[in-house]
């Protein structure tokens, strides 16, 4: 077996964080295929601070392998996140999975890669180029000819030979190969074997045969690596104690749980990446937990529409008839829903749209993240439309805001958006276990037969309470006063037909009143970090984790005490105004090209426009802290 005992142990002394006590002994030119002599070189190791990138091709079945690596680290108590960078393709195109483990809890994307598993011939050249100097490379021996750097540690692994030992069944070998790299990486990072085994069992809990096959493949990889590779302990994972138990979940599952607990009753949807798993997860959850225990009948209906127009029609019809209804989609679907969104606004019908934002139209980058729908969603549709947007910054909030979206939709009898994005929605995040809702369902101002008998008055669009929110009745209410006729435009307070200018203008002004009422009832902004009054950041959604890490970098590296307020919903209220007013400059960090949130804030507060600046990130990759830090340092450097 000596011939497969190939270790590249390459070191370049200019890389400072990777220092060998005796570099001359360990240096091995890459063209030499003999094994290093003598003992392994000990480099100072980074503990619990690592970015692992796994480069495979789509459809190679690496997902469960990557999930097991992620979970093994998670189970060892180390804060961790997993991000899938994938193509719009079922089989064959390059795909990457990035795991970041960080003892301080910084689990946003970090561009610098410490450990690369290179399995894909299509992308191997670029992949190797992007590994940080001194980083570790686990390279499929089939691809060894691509190795062209001598400032990295390359571990060549004969996966194709190992998998023959691990898996007699030829057609399963592709999948099992992935588990071998799990074992190799586990060895290199000093992961606990016991935790890896548990993670495998959890992943394949309903398939004991698959669990056994995968366990033995991972063990083979681990053992092979321990016998053949020199573990430099460049990066290691060590067990950490957690104060509170954590969960690992993606934002789409979190939102689905929110809708389950928000009592959703009618769901209409049409598949679109990256939102599909909101409804797919919800279908599973509803199927398990929402059947009448006596009759076995469903307390919900989910219909997959023929398109997003139909899906929006379903949920709008259902909302009108009194159901708590929701649809989930992404940008192109929002475009198709636009007309009925306007109807929902003007006819005042409760409905929730989940927008898991992605890059633009058609093919190309539908599988990359952005926050490019903020402006569109806020003003979606014809006439003077403005909508309530809830913008979760974490998976906990994806859960909580999904519940709240259903409540607010019925409270305000209007369309409410839950604005997620691909990074939050489809990637795995660590979180505190979700709490059971503290508030009962808010069904809003609905007059029943009894109410009508008591108040003896009903006009559908009359602002009785002065908050702009009228009362409604549901079809089926048996009372002479209950019926009304719903139209988009042109109605009096009593919902009768009118084309009179004053009727319409009054109605528009009432809708503004209603919108202003919402300013105080939507999730309020949070000051995440106080400032010294000079520089503030406003950010929202999935940018949160990167921004928080950037604040720590700015303080540690430049002594800047930058503050941070997180916007959690639109419309904003006076708190955001005060925040901008109280800083010399406020940077609005967002993941779009056109500074959409900053533009909305400038519209809201034109007098404060000169104080609003932007940091924009729109390359399709999740935001990282360094991008924010560099942008602020660039702008704030002494002139």
């Amino acid at each position: 077996m000596l011939d497969i005992k190939r270790i590249y142990w390459i070191y370049q002394s200019i890389f400072v964080t990777f220092k060998s006590p005796n570099p001359s002994k360990s240096f091995m030119p890459q063209t030499t295929l003999t094994q290093p002599s003598g003992t392994a070189v000990q480099a100072p190791s980074r503990v619990n601070d690592i970015v692992i990138q796994i480069a495979t091709s789509n459809g190679s079945g690496s997902q469960s392998a990557n999930a097991i690596l992620l979970r093994s680290i998670f189970q060892m108590g180390v804060p961790v996140s997993g991000k899938n960078i994938f193509p719009s393709n079922i089989q064959g195109l390059p795909t990457w999975y990035t795991i970041r483990a960080n003892k301080d809890g910084w689990t946003a994307r970090r561009k610098e890669i410490d450990l690369l598993v290179a399995m894909n011939i299509e992308s191997v050249q670029d992949d190797i180029r992007e590994l940080r100097p001194g980083g570790m490379l686990v390279l499929n021996s089939e691809l060894k000819s691509f190795l062209n750097r001598n400032d990295i540690q390359a571990h060549i692994v004969p996966f194709n030979e190992l998998v023959v030992q691990a898996c007699p069944e030829v057609k399963l070998r592709k999948l099992v190969t992935n588990m071998i790299y799990v074992g190799v990486v586990g060895y290199l990072l000093s992961l606990e074997l016991e935790e890896m085994t548990q993670a495998i069992e959890k992943q394949f809990k309903s398939k004991p045969k698959a669990a056994e096959l995968n366990r033995s493949a991972a063990t083979l990889g681990y053992n092979w690596a321990s016998e053949h590779l020199v573990n430099t302990r460049t990066c290691t994972i060590e067990r950490m104690e957690r104060k509170q138990e954590k969960i690992l979940i993606d934002g789409n599952m979190a939102a689905a749980l929110g809708y389950l607990y928000g009592g959703v009753t009618v769901v209409g949807w049409y598949p679109i990446t990256p939102s599909s798993s909101v409804c797919e997860n919800l279908i599973d959850l509803l199927g398990k937990y929402r059947h009448d225990p006596q009759t076995g009948k469903a307390t919900y209906a989910v219909v997959q529409g023929e398109d997003e127009i139909a899906s929006m029609g379903f949920v709008t019809g259902a909302g009108w008839a009194g159901a708590r209804s929701m649809t989930a989609t992404s940008g192109p679907g929002i475009s198709l829903m636009a007309e009925i969104a306007g109807l929902s606004y003007f006819a005042e019908i409760p409905v929730v749209i989940t927008d898991v934002q992605r890059m633009g139209p058609s093919t190309g980058l539908p599988t990359r993240t952005c926050q490019g729908d903020i402006m569109k969603a806020y003003f979606l549709s014809h006439g003077d439309c403005k909508h309530i947007l809830l913008i979760p910054g974490s998976v906990e909030e994806a859960y909580e805001f999904a519940i709240e979206a259903l409540n607010l939709a019925e409270r305000f009898q209007t369309l409410v958006f839950l604005m997620s994005d691909l990074d939050l929605g489809m990637n795995n995040w660590m979180a505190d276990p979700f709490k059971f809702p503290s508030k009962p369902l808010d069904r809003g101002k609905v007059l029943t037969e009894k109410d009508l008998e008591r108040v003896k008055f009903f006009e559908r669009y009359r602002d009785v309470d002065g908050d702009g929110i009228p009362y409604r009745t549901l079809p089926g209410t048996k009372h002479p006063l209950a019926a009304y006729f719903t139209r988009g435009t042109g109605h009096t307070p009593a919902a009768t037909y009118s084309e009179k200018p004053e009727n319409w203008q009054d109605n528009m002004d009432r809708l503004t009143r209603k919108f202003n009422t919402a300013r105080q009832l939507v999730p309020q902004p949070i000051i995440e970090k106080a400032s010294d009054g000079d520089v503030g950041i406003l950010a929202y959604g999935s940018s949160d984790m990167a921004v928080k890490e950037s604040l720590a970098q700015l303080e540690a590296e430049a002594g800047l005490k930058v503050g941070y307020m997180r916007i959690r919903a639109l419309p904003v209220n006076g708190e955001v105004r005060n925040y901008i007013a109280s800083h010399r400059v406020t940077y609005v960090v967002e993941q779009n090209r056109d500074a959409q949130m900053a533009s909305i804030l400038r519209m809201e507060y034109p007098d404060l426009a000169p104080k609003i600046s932007s940091i924009l990130h729109y390359d399709g990759m999740p935001l990282d802290a360094r991008t924010v830090t560099q942008a602020i340092l660039q702008s704030e450097k002494p002139k």
């Binding site: 607990y261 379903f314 709008t316």
Partner: protein
Amino acid sequence: MTEPSAQAVAPKASTNHLGQPLAAYRGVTSTLCSGCGHDAITNQIIKACYELDVESHRVAKLSGIGCSSKTTAYFLGQSHGFNSVHGRMAAVATGVHLANRTLLNIGVSGDGDTASIGLGQFLHMIRRNVRICYLIENNGVYGLTKGQFSATADKGSVQKKGTENEMMPIDCCALAIEMGCRFVARSFSGDMKQLLTLIKAGLNHPGTAMIDVVSPCVTFNNHEGSTKSYKFAKEHEEQLHDIGFVPPHEQITAEYAEGTTKTIELPDGAKIVLKKLHRDYDPADRNNALKLLADARDQRLFLTGLIYHQDGTYPDLVEQKNLVEEPLATLSESKVRPPREVLQKIMESLK
């Protein structure tokens, strides 16, 4: 239940069995052009609901956009109505049906609303078997935007300005049969008796009942050259059969003698009686129905009656979804929010 005697069920002259006068089923005054075929259809809907003792609060009136869609305001003023957006009523109705299964849905659409902009949704609604009596007030022309052709305009039909339609029309009845609709009828707004019967039967159908009613547009499509004018329709109409509808609490009268009639029983006990005129027509024969429609089109005949009907129950969308009996809209929190323990269990599985 014993068969009520004719005397017991006969309503007083001025009210129905609910004690409601006909006027209780009216809506606001029509704003359509004087003599519009749509108003004649509205009157038959009013009469059908009156005669069927429909409780107004149980009805949801649904429509898209267009002259036809406006008419939902002109009948059943004590019912909730929703004039939604152009071509999308089918989807809105689907949501209403799911949210409250107890509602009796009456959909009114036009040929533009159904066959042009809304064709996809119309077909998918049928495919799902949404419970609704869906009327197409078909005049082959866009009235509200002043006279453009719709997708049901006949080939060779001439616009008021003289432009000739060169495309084949879409036959909503044939499409509905293709999509599995189990109640497909065609009528003419001027034929009050037949229309009333079909609407009554359609309201009792436990799924999508589609009635395509040729309803001439007196302003934009009632001239020489139009194939949906009163004159053309009257001259080219061919009735498949004479129709009677008998609600569950009425007996079949002697008018329909054995041998010349076919009785179709609806699941609630109501009956449709077809009196055959000059051919041995079986509305349960799908292939025959499609052939008949194709032949009629070739001969430029305008076929009316219950073109296709399937007996027996077939699950509507609510039944396919196995929904609880109580409307989803009014389920209490305890029924729609799983207990705390379930959340704990799920959280445990994610640790």
